[in-house]
């Protein structure tokens, strides 16, 4: 079947803008960086003459030669007493746990010579473990968290307000003890994120016992009060349930970005992806949302709705499911019809989730799930999670009490209310009235800098901690390094102030011992359990299953009224406040790896912005086509007294009439030192926060925080703002066979040519034997060779990657894992804007029009309507994510053009890059059809990039992987397929005297991919998984027709849609 579907990377390309065409044709759109060097005015005024110059030159050469003759003296200092388990040069892995109040995951921490340098998901234990793949699922924020350990802005000890330098803990303890004594009788509040640690709770209890007026208030930066309160009303339990997407045949999400930022994402992702294999029972995913979320991008059916329509959609869905359509909106009834039908057909095997924080909406969702019988199957309230216990009402009351002067002492742990509260200003004024305010933040951040004391907490990689994420699930975090600074765990500080003398480690052990004693003999010996927990990072306790699933007892009528209220008052523009995959709620905004990770959809780095439907952008006369030389227009968004001026990014898929702004940006607005990359020098030379803070737009309503603002005005602010967008860089668009996509029906029909047709070339011989030589005489591309065959097939190893486009959800954990493993330079916004990002691995995002000739025919559209619809396809595009790294072509075009043989082929199928041989001609990059080669335009490990590049300072350098070199200026680099891991894996096999076991070697990206989309292995191993995938029907090579024979293959994306459609771009 021929192609009618068009794919494009950005609007410029879709509409054939000259900029986009130019950009496509130039590998490096930038001219040489000469202007930057010669533009330096101090050079033109130089008075050095030619002869002087020659003298300096001569002296310089002589001096350099002499200096080079000197023997280097390098000191080596061995351990005095070597720790038993450390061998220099050998990595140690420790099981630990990541929990920051938002995300939870069991992880493995890789340490080298005592330094944590890499994090991956725990492949053997934990709730984020995908048992089928034996992989732990984690996101980019988790594997990047190792870098924040080495942030130079971390506090080095306790600091009193107004003091620049850290003091001793003895001083701090004395002063704080006095403060606590003075606050006796008044409210004393420990304000923290959701505490899921039994030992922390015990420490808080100890503090409460010492100070009877003390209480604990939990505050989730991104509130889930709507969900938990709805569960209280519906089932009598104020909990966040456990979801099991592996059991869901139908997933309906109303604005819940559950793959990126809603609920327990480290579980959601692998569970969801495990049901996206078209060879097994594939789930069907409906998404209703206003902005194009990462989850929406993965949906089979995505319905863009206005924000004010989303509650109505839930009401309509409820009406469909319950059969009572009173009060439901007719248009919404129609929009949700398909989803409802699918749900009704999969009772007990479906799940409905909503991202709304409105209690009424969530009660309706509970009712829908209850009617569908999903409780006890896909939703579990018995072994519920302990996440998201935050109580917005209690936080609001606290702010009131602070302002009333009735709070004597406030202890703040893990949260930053002065930055993130809807009423941050009231919080700040109240804080001034609190006698003793103590922040446990590791940085002098927005809140901490206003507190009377900052008692910096350890980084989590320096700490012992325990967690109780779910009923029956326990986890331990163990330190992977001694505290770098004079910091102290906040729990230990509480213990000290409660008069305890035991440290937190002993405290955890005693709490566990007591808890196990309570459970009786079923748990066995304490020491055994403890050692198991330390080794595995996880301990599972037996759970008695509930006899019956919970019975829904919510008030549907009242909920419908509340939901209707959430729909009212819509204005010209509706604003959705969301969190991005990279930055989240903003607590990791100081992490350079995360700031430089392109957003999954917009592919923008180092900024937040206003996402707007292209139609609206056009209507407002703003810049539609963004690029290096084409900055974004600035607009002012106003709601009540709040206003914010941000660049506008036209975002296909955004519902017209709605806009979206990411939270979590604009950290350190008042000059607080919140960490390395939170503030950088911008294009005007000002040292400013990255992005702007949108939290003031959130509102407190009905005891919960509301992230939707239904009535905002958007006006052009005049002026433009450059955005660093990787979307149009280095891509391979406008060629056939880049991305292939089909429907499950076509796939199941079994005709490979219909969805994954082979590429052939016409030849001048009678191939088909019909007696004439014509265009029908074609041979497969594989039979044509310009070069001699490389001896890789069957010879030794042949390493390869297989990338399942169905499994890739676009999260970008592979990008940051690659950064960490391969010492990839962070280059900063300005360089990214100039297409000079250094990422070895990128995720290409392709939009495509949902309207095709076939679908138009099916919908009964006339020709004119059809073409009209195809002309404005970006209203509801489908999206594909495609991770692209070096394809390691066996007939690599880059290798043949290198004048110095710096890039060559190995007999294991790797395209190798010898940096020290490279002279920087960049011929290889120009000749690469996949545009995966990166050039070091500058010495990125230099002061110029010190603001963003962690490798610049001594502390940040500790994160570097010692097995991989740091590349210097003037050389090309690219994906090596983690050759260091391959070599290490081979060596381990040689030492053991066994063949390399499939799965024993992982690249950083494949190890980070919890959904199993990226599979690495030996293609010459006939039994390997990657070989099986490479030989499968869905397998194809990107740009197969050019015959470069890559060792990376892709698997055709299969969408679970009804129509039988065959697409290839």
């Amino acid at each position: 079947m021929s192609s009618t579907k068009r794919y494009w990377k950005d609007l410029g390309e879709l509409h054939q803008q000259p900029e986009a065409i130019k950009g496509r044709e130039n590998e490096f759109p930038q001219d040489l960086a000469i202007d930057q060097v010669l533009g330096n005015s101090s050079l033109t005024g130089a008075s050095t003459g030619r002869r002087d110059f020659l003298k300096f030159l001569g002296f310089g050469i002589g001096a350099a030669t002499l200096a080079a003759c000197e023997t280097p003296v390098i000191k080596s200092i061995p351990y005095v007493t070597k720790p038993e388990d450390i061998t220099p040069g050998v990595a140690n892995w420790y099981a630990s746990t990541f929990y920051d109040g938002e995300d939870f995951a069991s992880i493995l921490v890789k340490t080298r010579e005592g330094r944590p340098i890499h994090i991956k998901g725990n492949p053997r234990f934990g709730i984020n473990r995908n048992p089928a793949l034996a992989k732990g699922s984690i996101n980019a924020r988790m594997n990047s968290s190792v870098l924040s350990l080495y942030d130079g802005a971390r506090l080095t000890g306790p600091v009193a307000k107004g003091s620049e330098t850290a003091t001793t803990w003895a001083d701090a303890d004395k002063s704080i003890a006095a403060g606590i004594a003075a606050a006796a009788g008044k409210r004393m509040v420990i304000l923290s994120n959701t505490v899921i640690s039994p030992s922390t709770q015990a420490a808080i209890a100890a503090f409460k016992a010492k100070n009877p007026t003390a209480e604990h208030v939990q505050y989730d930066v991104i509130s889930y009060s709507g969900v938990t309160n709805a569960n209280l009303k519906s089932f009598g339990k104020r909990v966040f349930p456990s979801y099991d997407f592996t059991k869901a045949d139908v997933v309906v999400s109303v604005d819940a970005d559950f793959l990126s930022n809603w609920g327990s994402t480290s579980e959601n992702t692998w569970q969801y992806a495990s049901r996206r294999n078209p060879d097994l029972a594939m789930n069907r995913h409906f998404q209703f949302e206003a902005r194009m979320s990462m989850t929406g991008a993965n949906a089979d059916v995505r319905v863009p709705l206005k924000i004010s329509e989303l509650p109505k959609a839930v009401v309509a869905l409820h009406a469909h499911v319950s059969g009572n359509s009173a009060g439901a909106d007719a248009a919404m009834m129609k929009a949700t019809e398909g989803a409802a039908k699918a749900l009704m057909a999969s009772k007990g095997r479906s799940v409905v989730v909503s991202g709304s924080n409105n209690e009424g909406v969530q009660v309706l969702v509970n009712s829908i799930n209850s009617i569908l019988g999903n409780y006890g199957s896909t939703i579990d309230l018995d072994t519920h999670t302990h996440f998201k216990q935050g109580d917005d009402a209690a936080v609001a009351q606290l702010v009131k009490d602070m302002n009333a002067g009735s709070v004597g002492a406030l202890f703040i742990a893990g949260v930053n209310p002065a930055y993130s509260l809807p009423n941050a200003a009231a919080f700040k004024s109240g804080l001034a009235k609190v006698g003793l305010s103590v922040s446990f933040s590791g940085y002098a951040d927005e809140t901490a800098s206003l507190c009377s004391w900052i008692c910096p907490d350890n980084h989590y990689l320096e700490s012992w901690n325990d967690f109780h994420p779910k009923v029956g699930q326990y986890a331990l975090a163990q330190p992977a390094i001694r505290p770098l600074f004079n910091t102290r765990q906040w729990q230990e500080s509480l213990l000290v102030w409660s008069g305890s003398t035991s440290n937190y480690y002993e405290h955890i052990r005693s709490v566990w011992q007591a808890n196990m004693a309570n459970r009786g003999p079923e748990m066995g010996l304490f020491e055994d359990n403890w050692n198991t927990a330390v080794h595995n990072g996880v301990l599972t306790a037996p759970v008695t299953p509930a006899a019956l699933p919970a019975v829904f007892a919510g008030d549907v009528a009242a909920a419908s009224v509340a939901a209707a209220k959430a729909s009212s008052g819509a204005g010209e523009f509706e604003l959705a406040l969301y969190t991005t995959e990279a930055i989240g709620s903003g607590q990791h905004a100081n992490n350079p790896w995360l700031q430089e990770m392109p957003d999954p959809l917009t592919k923008i780095t180092w900024d937040n912005y206003v996402c707007m439907a292209p139609a609206d952008v056009e209507k407002l006369g703003l810049n539609m086509y963004l690029g290096e030389q084409a900055p974004a227009s600035l607009v002012t968004v106003k709601a009540g007294n709040n206003e914010i001026t941000l660049p506008v990014v036209p975002t296909p898929g955004q519902r017209a009439g709605t806009i979206a702004i990411a939270l979590g940006y604009g950290r350190g607005e008042n000059g607080e030192k919140v960490g390395k990359a939170a503030c950088v020098t911008d294009h005007n030379g000002d040292f400013k926060p990255v992005g702007k803070n949108a939290y003031p737009f959130t509102t407190s309503a009905d005891g919960g925080v509301n992230y939707d603002v239904l009535n905002v005005t958007v006006t052009s602010a005049g002026g433009t703002y450059p955005v660093a967008i990787t979307q149009t860089h280095l891509t391979a668009m406008d060629r056939h066979s880049v991305v292939k996509e089909t429907s499950v029906a076509t796939y199941k029909a079994g005709d490979k040519a219909a969805y994954n047709h082979p590429h052939t070339l016409g030849v001048h011989e009678d191939v088909n034997g019909d007696g004439v030589i014509n265009t029908q005489d074609r041979k497969p591309v594989a039979e044509f060779d310009l070069w001699q065959e490389h001896p890789v097939e069957g010879v030794g190893h042949r390493w390869g990657l297989s990338i399942d486009l169905n499994g890739c959800i676009g999260c970008g954990a592979c990008i940051t894992a690659c950064n960490s493993e391969n010492n990839i330079a962070v280059v900063g916004k300005d360089e990214v804007r100039r297409s000079r990002e250094m990422h070895w691995l990128r995720i290409d995002r392709y939009y495509s029009s949902a309207t095709t000739k076939e679908s138009a025919k099916k919908d009964g559209l006339g020709k004119i309507d059809m073409y009209l619809k195809m002309e404005v396809p970006e209203e509801s595009p489908t999206v594909m994510f495609m991770p692209v790294m070096c394809q390691h072509c066996n007939h690599a075009p880059c290798e043949t053009v290198c004048p110095v043989a710096a890039t060559t082929h190995s007999n294991e199928g790797l395209n190798q890059m010898a940096y020290n041989r490279c002279i920087g001609t960049r011929y290889c990059a120009n000749n690469c059809p996949y545009k995966v080669r990166r050039f070091n335009w500058f010495n990125y490990v230099s002061e110029k990039f010190g603001e963003v590049n962690p490798a610049w300072d001594d502390l940040g350098r500790m994160v570097l992987n010692p097995d991989v070199v740091v590349r210097g200026r003037g050389v090309i680099e690219k994906c090596s397929m983690c050759v260091q891991s391959i070599q290490a894996g081979k060596l381990a096999a040689k030492k053991a005297g066994t063949p390399v076991k499939d799965g024993s070697i992982e690249t950083a990206c494949s190890a980070a991919c919890g959904t199993g989309a990226i599979v690495f292995g030996d293609l010459n191993d006939k039994k390997s998984k990657v070989r099986g995938l490479a030989d499968s029907d869905r397998s194809y090579h990107m740009l197969e027709e050019i015959g470069v024979k890559p060792n990376v293959n892709y698997l055709v994306k299969v969408r679970n849609t009804e129509e039988a459609a065959a697409h290839h771009a």
């Binding site: 023997t71 000191k75 050998v90 040689k990 005297g993």
Partner: protein, 440 residues
């Protein structure tokens, strides 16, 4: 002493220091002395002493336990030394006052019970009483210091200068004679030209010869420069003096790792460099490894050696009886420095390649009192070996699989035939010359 043929390629300095007989003489004399004194004792007191007592006692000095010299005399009339040695804690229970006093004096540490007969105990004590410490010798005057190697060329320079002076004088004489002849013949004497003028004059008249000579000189200089450029940054190999930095402790590799038949201790290299078989780094032993032996061996064979051992104690924080907890790590100077862009893994070469340490580090156990860089560690040197060494495939399942794959496919079969042209499979043939094997 016989110089092994392997050494003939050694630099001069190494050969000279090999001839140094000092240490050997010392150990030999000690041995002879001891033999003479205790050879007739029945049973062998020395052997018993070394086997049972030496980890805590010395004959003539206090260590963990008291010096054994005179112990028999000290006990005389105060108690039963035999019973004390056999089981001191049992003997203490008898309430013997001297035993109690000794126990208190030595930090109440119980001596391990010994299963020795009375005769054997007597033999040990007799050995201790007869023990005379070996006379320490100063440095052997015949030892040539490493600097001695450079003593040849100044002489050559002096001789060259002398020849030059002679040559110039002779040419002056020749000119005078020539002028005298010319004068005699009634011709004008040759104009008095400087050396430079005459050289130019000669060149003007012999253009061809001058050009060729000039060309030779230029080519010679360029070649010399070219050669010199090749050894920039090279600190080992045959062409340059080896890098042999001064170390904070004069650790003697030959003494520790050298062959036992030469009086050395013959400790396996990997006893100290234990991570060579499991890590990319061979590792500098941590100081606690030194203490495995040196907690007992607190004296060197020379006073200098004892001083060096004292440095270990300072480093590890050992006051002779206990650890003080105040270590001062040793700052060794790294001898073998690879550039950052080259990845080298000891494990691969030691555990899989089964190379001897000496193949790259030279005769470190034979003639390196102080460690030096023996091999040039250049890329040429590395890949030379990769080209010639065959892979140790026998009995290794990993290589069995590789071979099976080669035999399984046509392309593999072709490759295998090529590999086996020289009847072995070299490292190079399995990819040992590929860039990304060492550079990433």
């Amino acid at each position: 002493m016989v110089v092994p043929s392997k050494m003939l390629g050694m630099p001069l300095v190494a050969r000279i220091s090999e001839r140094s007989p000092g240490l050997f003489n010392i150990s030999l004399s000690v041995f002879l002395f001891l033999f003479a004194t205790v050879a007739f004792a029945q049973p062998d007191g020395e052997k018993l002493f070394k086997g049972n007592c030496a980890s805590c006692h010395k004959p003539d000095k206090d260590m963990t336990g008291p010096a054994l010299k005179g112990a028999k005399a000290r006990w005389e009339g105060k108690g039963d030394i035999h019973a004390w040695v056999k089981n001191s804690s049992a003997y203490l229970k008898t309430g013997n006052p001297y035993a109690t006093e000794l126990f208190a004096k030595w930090n109440k540490s119980v001596m391990t019970a010994q299963t020795l007969t009375d005769e054997e105990i007597d033999a040990v004590l007799a050995y201790a009483d007869a023990y005379v410490p070996p006379v320490p010798k100063g440095p052997d005057p015949t030892t040539v210091t490493p600097g001695g190697e450079t003593s040849n060329w100044p002489w050559l320079v002096v001789i060259a200068l002398l020849l030059l002076v002679v040559g110039l004088s002779l040419s002056g004489v020749k000119r005078s004679l020539n002028n005298a002849v010319r004068e005699a013949e009634g011709k004008e004497p040759e104009p008095d030209m400087s050396f430079g003028q005459r050289l130019r004059n000669w060149a003007w008249h012999n253009k061809a010869a001058a050009s060729i000579l000039g060309l030779f000189i230029v080519v010679f200089l360029i070649l010399k420069l070219w050669d010199a450029a090749f050894v920039i940054g090279v600190y080992g190999g045959d062409e340059v003096p080896h890098y042999k930095p001064e170390q904070p402790i004069l650790f003697n590799h030959t003494l520790h790792a050298g062959k036992a038949d030469k009086g050395n201790l013959a400790i396996n290299c990997q006893y100290c460099h234990s991570s060579a078989e499991k890590s990319k780094h061979a590792g500098i032993p941590s100081t606690n490894v030194c203490m495995n032996c040196h907690s007992a061996v607190n004296e060197g064979r020379t006073p200098e050696g004892t001083k060096e051992i004292a440095k270990i104690y300072a480093a590890v924080g050992w006051d002779g009886k206990a650890y003080t907890g105040k270590p001062e790590p040793v700052k060794w100077v790294k001898v073998h420095n690879l550039p950052d862009h080259a990845y080298f893994n000891h494990q691969q070469h030691v555990s899989v390649g089964k190379l001897e340490c000496q193949e790259c580090h030279g005769p470190i156990d034979e003639k390196m009192d102080v460690a030096e860089q023996w091999a040039p560690l250049t890329m040429g040197w590395c890949i030379d070996c990769h080209n010639t060494k065959d892979v140790k495939m026998a009995g290794n399942g990993y290589y069995d699989e590789i071979m099976a794959r080669l035999e399984d496919t046509d392309m593999g079969h072709e490759e295998l035939k090529k590999y086996l042209e020289d009847e072995k499979i070299s490292v190079k043939e399995l990819g040992g010359w590929e860039c990304a094997k060492c550079h990433y």
